[in-house]
Symmetry: C2
Subunit: 261 residues, 2 copies
Amino acid sequence: MENKPKLTIVKIGGNVIDSELELKAFLKDFAALSGYKILVHGGGKIATKIAEGLGITPVFHEGRRITDKPMLDVAVMTYAGLINKDITAQLQALQNNALGFTGADGNMILSEKRKNAAVDFGWVGDIVSVNHELVKVLLLQNVVPVFCAITHDGKGQLLNTNADTIAGALAVACSNDFEVNLLYCFEKKGVLSNADDNNSVIKKLTFDTYTQLREEKVIHSGMLPKLENCYDALTKGVSTVYIGSPEMIKQGDTTCTQVSL
Amino acid sequence: MENKPKLTIVKIGGNVIDSELELKAFLKDFAALSGYKILVHGGGKIATKIAEGLGITPVFHEGRRITDKPMLDVAVMTYAGLINKDITAQLQALQNNALGFTGADGNMILSEKRKNAAVDFGWVGDIVSVNHELVKVLLLQNVVPVFCAITHDGKGQLLNTNADTIAGALAVACSNDFEVNLLYCFEKKGVLSNADDNNSVIKKLTFDTYTQLREEKVIHSGMLPKLENCYDALTKGVSTVYIGSPEMIKQGDTTCTQVSL
């Protein structure tokens, strides 16, 4: 059997990005990870603040944000500009040769504008393909790619794309060349069996248990698409998937949830 | 003698970026250029507009802008976010595998905060080094690097850096591995012998002629640092340097100024 090099893909969400101190602490841990690695980051509340500052009113449909043109511009400015470059510069200071990406850069993540939806969510893209060849070239140069939640349609249009989905698609695309460990960091310690108790982490969530807990409504709302991404990755060749707090990337941390088939 | 591959480095200024149509036309011409190439772009008026929108008041000292922290954030958002990603996505649509960079990305351009100046211009960086090895790896992958006017100090701080200087430093750093042709595009057809006559282009500006015209004050103000960059590049190994309008990148254009030693 072929021995593939290991690749760790870490996704962090808005909660880490919104706190300067938490982000700094996380980046220090991330920088200390040995081997090939990729960071994927979400947006946080900065985009909302900048949109407000510019007098742009966010548009919602049943609680879900619509990405109209002004909001897309703000997302590009904030995610690809402010946040992505701050993270990149900080990782450089920690001796990681970080390189920031939108999906347009190097044609890394090609997507298409979401269609056939009952509602037009605006400039939102669903992933079509990942340029894993270029990812590989860069990783072998010891570059640490840092992805934000912006992709492109190949026709000149940037699109807003869910960061969880980006992390999953990267993990799947790289699993031909690498043994991929995918880590989803969020605000809880893992998948909880009791939403009110942060210590009720399910250590190992098999697909059977997941199906059962979903039916019992123990797992619901935001966790569902997150876990769908996990199982999708696992069925498509990703070796291991974990969900937990940013702390979990520290060596020896065992508080998180391992998602398994 | 070694036969180096050719590399074209094109710098465009704010005037092209401020016009959606001009930028589109330029990018079409740039995309059609054969061989290895790099694009460097300035900022344009969008940053000023966004700063105004956010209620940030620009600070000036004797007509020169001071880059305070809020203005640096706006520069990062606008140059590295909005403009750089728009250009990258447009070039992708033109079948150029563009990849956007600040100096922090891939540690491409390391700079240090300007010091010992009579005035503190704020978060402005002077270039220390260029990661030409990574530039070469990417060019050989047929990637088209697109640089904006942001660098970093290696300690986590992003810095505003003149785009002309970035283009010059890239050209010099790449001239070991490539035969570099450096093209500075600006709002005139070339260096003029009569500032009021756009048709008075000096076809070939030798260093002797430059020195003479500078003493006669025919060449003055903004043209001086631009030409200093040109002669610096030429003395440090860059093969050819041209100054002219964005039109000059079209094949067969002969209206611009060739700067020569």
